[in-house]
């Protein structure tokens, strides 16, 4: 059942299952039925139209994950606009940059964060409408907000927009190598082709209960939001605070009898190591899906021992394509295996090739860059035509997104990940451009030189920063961490800092990263 626009999944399920529970806030237990969620998002749509939001506009979401933010997301889509979700806990200056960059018309923002965001937007001379939702007034801030603005509104059309499949649906910002985040533009077709592939593989029905662990600004959330709502299933929204609390998450998995779990391997490792997941044997999990980074086999083996009946899928794909290859972990993992599992075969809705720098096919068994074409591949980067064309290889066989990931194709079209061809790393599922960390630290008045490197260790990727200071003295570690906490999203915080008198240089006087990689 393919749809032209992503909000049709909700509309169709609301007609079929109006009384069924669509979403639950896992921490509070608050829930909403399909009929109510559809109606609430209609109200959001009407309000956005009244304040002048039009099809093809962008609308920001700077809210904690909640029933309110889910209804807002669908309300934006129903106008025919695109939603732009950000991490509400990230530095306000970064969020203001994003909202200004893609020219949002309005922003739904948690009331307690509205003033800081307004100040930062004003510095950029941006004046979108800020629509504040106040959780201190009670658990239904969206209904309260809408009730407050309803009076005296103009009459607006009460039908949802019917955008075409190639219209913009959402813009997800990822770390950018030049120091500023870049907006990945995704259409309704990009999203729905992936959602339909998930239907094919997971065969969900209205009895399924999905986790939603990833925040909405993270591409894992596309599965969490749209797949359960397409099938009349229930999604359990796991917010920021709960998402870091393994013991509470483990009891929700068991007590709520979740059937599909999707998160980064880091979160699954946290559940096994700190969540006492093994103390419960009443899991209903059919599928455990993971993506975003390599899952160390040691931890995967432990997880499989604790939840043996589930099927385990390793999903792979950058934000620009979402999931494009997948690999099912075998029932038993050999005792002596320590190599990570492959990223697997191309999904049925994409085509994959391994190419060299000139776009020529690389023989099977040799390293090359994975390139993807097909329905889920992004339109491009917002307002960055040059970056967009550099990201694609175009030839007679089509338009291929160059993932930057170096792979080897093995038997049966199974790809194995070998590394990156640039300075992007993935840690705990988040992609991080090391250059963005360096740019942020260069803003510190006492720092004269910075270089960030990433190391892969058995427990995962760690980021180490080497720096030199103007007065030659080491900075306080507390001061460095504090500076990062206020200038970078938490997921980009370095693990280690090392003070140097001067950073090592190459013969051309560039920072010698190879040398830094060898330093302890």
């Amino acid at each position: 059942m393919t749809v032209a626009a992503l909000h049709e999944y909700l509309e169709q399920s609301a007609r079929r299952y109006p009384q069924t529970c669509a979403a639950v806030e896992a921490s509070s237990g608050r829930q909403i039925t399909y009929g109510e969620l559809d109606a609430l998002s209609d109200q959001v749509r009407d309000h956005l139209r009244r304040i002048g939001v039009r099809p093809a506009d962008r609308v920001g979401i700077c809210l904690p994950k909640s029933i309110a933010s889910l209804a807002v997301l669908f309300g934006i889509l129903k106008v025919g606009a695109a939603y732009v979700p950000v991490d509400s806990l990230a530095p306000p200056a970064r969020n203001a940059f994003i909202f200004n960059d893609c020219g949002v018309r309005a922003i739904f923002v948690e009331a307690s964060r509205a003033e800081a965001l307004r100040c930062e937007l004003a510095r950029l001379a941006a004046e979108p409408s800020l629509l504040p939702l106040d959780w201190s007034d009670g658990p239904s801030p969206l209904a309260a907000y809408l009730a407050g603005v309803e009076a005296g509104g103009l009459a607006v059309e009460d039908e949802s927009a019917r955008p075409g499949p190639d219209n913009l649906a959402y813009v997800l910002y990822t770390s950018g190598s030049t120091g500023q985040p870049k907006g990945v533009m995704l259409t309704h077709r990009n999203g729905s082709s992936y959602v339909d592939w998930c239907s094919e593989v997971l065969a969900p029905d209205e009895n399924d209960r999905f986790s939603s662990h990833a925040p909405f600004h993270f591409d894992l959330s596309i599965l969490d939001i749209f797949v359960p709502l397409k099938h009349g299933a229930t999604v359990f929204l796991i917010g920021e605070e709960l998402g870091k609390n393994p013991a509470r998450m483990a009891s929700i998995i068991a007590e709520r009898r979740l059937t599909v779990w999707y998160s980064t391997p880091s979160v699954l490792t946290l559940l096994v190591e700190h969540g006492s997941l093994d103390a419960r044997d009443d899991h209903a999990l059919r599928f455990i899906l993971f993506a975003g980074e390599v899952f160390p086999v040691k931890h995967l083996r432990r997880l499989k021992a604790v939840v043996p009946r589930a099927r385990y899928l390793n999903l792979y794909g950058p934000t620009e394509t979402n999931v494009c290859t997948y690999y099912e972990i075998p029932q038993t993992i050999a005792e002596d295996r320590s190599a990570p599992f492959p990223i697997g075969r191309a999904c049925s809705h994409v085509e994959a090739r391994v190419i060299d720098a000139n776009g020529r096919n690389v023989p099977r068994g040799q390293e090359g860059e994975l390139a993807i074409s097909g329905a889920p591949v992004m339109l491009g980067y917002w307002n960055m035509p040059e970056r967009t064309s550099a990201a694609f290889h175009v030839d007679s066989s089509g338009r291929w997104y160059r993932t930057g990931d170096v792979v080897i194709e093995g038997d049966g079209g199974v790809y194995t990940f070998r590394g990156r061809r640039d300075r992007m790393v993935k840690r705990r599922g988040y992609r991080i451009e090391l250059g963005e960390i360096e740019t942020a630290l260069y803003r510190h008045p006492a720092i004269s030189e910075v270089a960030a490197i990433a190391r892969s260790e058995e427990s995962g990727v760690s980021i180490k920063v080497f720096y030199a200071s103007r007065d030659g003295h080491a900075l306080s570690l507390i001061e460095l961490k504090r500076f990062c906490a206020h200038n970078l999203p938490a997921y980009m915080a370095p693990d280690w800092f090392s003070h140097q008198q001067l950073l090592p240089k190459t013969s051309t006087d560039k920072i010698d990263y190879q040398h830094l990689m060898r330093m302890e």
């Binding site: 393994p246 946290l270 570690l477 507390i478 504090r482 990062c484 938490a490």
Partner: protein, 86 residues
């Protein structure tokens, strides 16, 4: 355990585990641990496991919130209230 003992214990643990090389006087009773990025979520879990073991208390999942753990002073108050209630 009195408040001073708890503060000393928590300070030593945080300095040793998460702030190698830091001058102890830079970590004050009111330094913001979570909101200033000194403890990430994994470090917070390690600190909690340490407090449970060395103070003989049990911390419920619902109590892992910044209000209880965001500074050494808050940690000491929280641990003392737990000890008083057991």
């Amino acid at each position: 355990m009195n408040a001073i003992q708890i503060r000393t214990m928590a300070r030593d643990f945080i300095l040793n585990e998460f702030l190698p090389g830091e001058r102890p006087e830079n970590l004050t009773d009111s330094t913001e641990l979570i909101t200033d990025g000194i403890l990430d979520s994994l470090a917070t879990l390690k600190l909690v496991a340490y407090l449970e073991k060395s103070c003989g208390i049990e911390i419920a999942p619902d109590e892992l919130v910044p209000e209880n753990l965001n500074s050494i002073a808050q940690i000491a108050n929280f641990v003392q209230s737990k000890q008083a209630s057991t």
